[in-house]
């Protein structure tokens, strides 16, 4: 019997992975685990082998670990050819080649794009180049900021109180540094977790001595004669004197290198189907190009088939594994990426975890513990179902809430449970700044445990 295309791919095909970070590495390991024997090329713009980013805003800033020591543990040898320190600069879909910035071209039979995101820079380029102004995304960023904190600045200004900004503020306080946090919204974390939880986060900042300014924007960074940042001007007229500024304004997707390639890539990421196959600009799915990690946008059946782009560590791992599996499978053997979103943060001594899509929630109900004690679990409701959950120092229960989300369990929850407090008796508005929710739609529930037997049950909407 002649060898099938898939068999020849497995035995001597060429797979190229663009993006040598968490998603790229885990995909490569999964490919080898699943018996891929051909050539594997890892392309990365940073000169380092894959490393882990979460410690950069935590242990590294506390001086407990060095940025250089964050290499990701390897699950197995991947026998890859590494092209590190050279970014990919283009893609020839017809010719199946990745172009590199040094002029080289790498041909592929299957391509995985995992180029991730980068920190959004300060919009004023000259101000952003002042000495003492940082972003935090890469190992080099982490090492540079850690060195500067070690030197004992008089005041650190963190612009943006999302997770990264809050973690940096927390690390500064733990090191005894004065820190001001400027946030455009009314509280930290509101974009991810809403105003109810944001209010708790704001109290945590203030209790730990952070000078938290909300409802303000930084309008200008001012340097001294030596080109060092010395102050920031806020929209309320205040001036904050500081010698370190960390710009934490979210991320931008690394898709520019794909411009003109014909792939459906843009500022919001690269659209792909639930099996991680990239869409072309035609809206037609490709057969040989896959996407995983922060740069991907894929439809999730559990959340109204919205295209979710998730900057979550666990998503990168799961999507990479699914993409790798599907790259080596025929159409009947492919699996959907139906990972339920989840993330964690550690700040001001509290472990924050979340599952589902809290931002879709219109209401929140505290089901366990008490926000005043900084130990609680809350569930988010959307159109009568549980859509997300958050825990502060209560992470061991999260698995339960994930199952509730997967089963589209009713909201508000009707059950009694341990540690239900009087304030947990009724739902309150979740208070997201801009609740952009889709219209009434069908629901899908997930069942099964192993990736191979996970199933969806589709329940059409009633009119």
């Amino acid at each position: 019997m002649p060898e099938s295309e898939l068999e020849s791919l497995k035995s001597r095909g060429r797979i190229v992975v663009v993006g040598a970070s968490l998603a790229g590495l885990r995909a490569a390991e999964t490919l080898r685990e699943k018996g891929f024997k051909g050539t594997l090329t890892m392309i990365g713009d940073e000169p380092y082998e894959p490393y882990d980013r979460p410690p950069l805003s935590k242990q590294v800033l506390l001086g407990m670990a060095r940025a250089e020591d964050t290499a990701l543990p390897r699950r197995r040898d991947i026998e890859a050819e590494w092209r590190l320190g050279v970014p990919a600069s283009g893609l020839d879909m017809a010719g199946r080649r990745v172009k590199l910035a040094d002029g080289d071209e790498v041909p592929y039979d299957r391509l995985l794009i995992a180029t991730g995101v980068r920190a959004r820079p300060w919009p004023n380029e000259a101000e952003g180049e002042l000495d003492g102004v940082f972003v935090l995304r890469t190992r080099a960023d982490g090492a540079g900021l850690a060195r500067r904190l070690e030197a004992g600045p008089r005041r650190v200004l963190v612009i943006g109180a999302g997770f990264t900004g809050s973690e940096i503020a927390s690390a500064c306080r733990e090191r005894g540094l004065e820190v001001t946090v400027a946030e455009r919204a009314d509280a930290p974390l509101v974009g991810a977790l809403g105003g109810v939880v944001g209010a708790v986060a704001a109290e945590m900042h203030r209790e730990h001595g952070v000078d938290l300014r909300t409802g303000v924007m930084v309008t200008r960074l001012e340097g001294d004669a030596g080109g060092r940042v010395r102050a920031a001007h806020l929209s309320d007229g205040a001036v904050v004197e500081c010698d370190v500024v960390v710009v934490c304004l979210g991320a931008q997707r690394n898709t520019e290198w794909l411009a003109g390639s014909g792939l459906g890539a843009g500022p919001r990421g690269i659209a792909c189907d639930a099996g991680c196959r990239a869409f072309g600009i035609t809206g037609i799915v490709t057969d040989d190009i896959y996407v995983a990690g922060d740069v991907a946008r894929s439809p999730h059946p559990l959340f109204g088939y919205q295209f979710l782009s998730l900057e979550h560590w666990g998503n990168a791992v799961s999507q990479a594994e699914t993409a790798a599996h599907n790259m080596l499978s025929d159409s009947a053997g492919r699996r959907p990426h139906i990972w339920v979103p989840a993330f964690w943060s550690s700040q001001f001594g509290v472990n924050i975890k979340s599952v589902g899509v809290p931002t879709m929630g219109t209401e929140i109900m505290i089901t366990q513990g008490s926000p005043a004690e900084r130990r609680f679990a809350g569930v988010y409701g959307y159109q009568g179902r549980i859509i997300g959950a958050v825990t502060f120092d209560n992470a061991r229960w999260l698995d339960f809430y994930q199952r509730q989300i997967e089963a589209t369990a009713p909201f508000p929850p009707e059950f009694s449970n341990v540690d239900r407090r009087p304030e947990g008796g009724r739902p309150v508005p979740a208070d997201f700044p801009d609740p952009s929710v889709p219209t009434h739609g069908p629901t899908v529930t997930l069942s099964g445990y192993s990736p191979a037997d996970r199933r969806m049950t589709f329940t059409p909407a009633r009119n």
Binding site: Q368, G369, R396, W397, L398, F400, F415, D419
Partner: protein, 418 residues
């Protein structure tokens, strides 16, 4: 009529090998025969329930008419308030958090690792002691590994951990033995007499600990009891009664389970001589081996004290509020839906996320210590016993179906290496 499956599981005749019964049980993931407890035996369902806030660990939430054949088996805490094992949040969290402070990370990350040398020297002493009564060519009736090794090891460790002075350790052993025996009642013995002995041991131990706590409050050392007694500000301190409950919990829960883990481990190794030989050559195998052991022969077979606070549905069965439940960890650990070849003992198993130490907020408090004790004990036994063999297979078991393990493990060996 055929004996009900739960009675069969509790029947001493099936103690040596309950696994075929568990296999039968798993065919009905939520088993309920009308009067008894709701018994959950499949991995994913147990795992889900261990993280389910609708389940209480406080048996005071049980309905009055709850019919549970394991109900009323006290765990030696007597008149003390419930320990955190039997409490729900927030009390559970408060007590466990305070107990953890002098025990593990983040505040005491080096406590367990710092005991490594002490563990090693206790193991060494006990194995040296085996040389005197060894079986085989030198004569004698063989070694009872339970009496001579598995039993004294953890109780000595608990003494050192709590800070019981060396000169009192012997008394402590006697009380611990008596309380352990009460967990494992001999059905033929005089129940009244036994209860008398048990309650007097419990009383004496309580008095002793209370005195020790007083002493440690005056002259604190770096032991756990001193640090627990001292409290640590933040408005969190344990009352003396809570402290006694906690100390009793650490003693009872940290003792019997570890005895069984080590004994089950040696029994399993002697039944798999190839693995024993590998362990002798590669002591580092002990780490994955103990994990597989916790899956294959868990010292706690089932959790009998969960109670739902609401009606909950599991696998299509509604378990009513207040009904007694059993979560059969040992059955979940052999669920073929979760583990490939579940009845095979395979220390190389990569995906070994067992239920042997529970999961969720009540997951085994002493896990890091138990793991280290078992790893050191088994690797040292493997290294030092020359040509060890089982004299009695299956060995006689304890009565207890929950904390299951051999009562004696008679072995022989040709020599004890230095």
């Amino acid at each position: 009529m055929k004996q009900g499956i739960l009675s069969q599981i509790l029947d001493y005749a099936n103690r040596a090998n309950p696994y075929p019964l568990y296999e039968e049980l798993r065919r009905t993931p939520v088993f309920h025969d009308g009067e008894g407890p709701y018994v959950v035996s499949t991995y994913h369902e147990i795992h889900g329930l261990l993280h389910d806030p609708r389940l209480s660990s406080d048996t005071r939430n049980r309905g009055a008419a709850a019919g549970d054949p394991l109900a009323g088996q006290e765990e030696g805490e007597g008149q003390l308030p419930p320990s955190f094992l039997k409490l729900d949040p927030p009390e559970h969290d408060r007590l466990r958090r305070m107990t953890n402070r002098p025990f593990g990370p983040p505040h005491s990350p080096r406590r367990i690792d710092g005991m490594r040398e002490e563990l090693r020297s206790i193991v060494k002493g006990l194995i040296d002691g085996l040389a005197d009564g060894r079986g085989g060519s030198v004569g004698g009736d063989g070694i009872d590994l339970v009496e001579q090794f598995s039993y004294p090891f953890p109780v000595t460790m608990i003494c050192r951990l709590l800070g019981v002075p060396r000169e009192d350790e012997a008394r402590f052993h006697v009380w611990a033995d008596t309380l352990a025996a009460s967990l494992d009642p001999d059905p033929d013995a005089d129940a009244e007499q036994r209860e008398k002995v048990t309650s007097s041991a419990r009383m004496e131990l309580g008095m002793y600990l209370a005195g020790l706590i007083e002493e440690r409050r005056k002259n604190p050392g770096d032991d756990m009891l001193s640090q627990l007694a001292a409290g640590h500000g933040q408005g969190e301190t344990m009352s003396t009664m809570e402290l006694l409950s906690t100390a009793a919990l650490l003693l009872i829960a940290g003792h019997e389970t570890t005895v069984n883990l080590i004994t089950n481990g040696m029994l399993t190794l002697l039944r798999h001589p190839d693995v024993l030989e590998r362990l002798r050559r590669e002591p580092r195998l002990a780490v994955p081996l103990v994990e597989e052991l916790l899956r294959y022969e868990p010292p706690v077979q089932l959790l009998p004290q969960r109670t739902p606070l609401s009606d909950i549905e599991v696998c299509g069965v509604t378990i009513p509020k207040g009904a007694p439940m059993w979560l059969v960890l040992a059955a979940g650990n052999r669920d073929p839906q979760r583990f490939e070849n579940p009845d095979r003992f395979d220390p190389d198993r990569k995906d070994v996320q067992h239920l042997g130490l529970g999961s969720g907020i009540h997951s085994c408090f002493g896990a890091p210590l138990a793991r280290l004790e078992a790893q050191l004990a088994l690797s040292e036994l493997a290294r030092r016993l020359h040509n060890p063999r089982l004299l009695d297979d299956p060995p006689p078991y304890r009565q207890n179906a929950v904390l299951r393990g051999p009562r004696h493990l008679m072995i022989a060996c040709d020599d004890v290496r230095p």
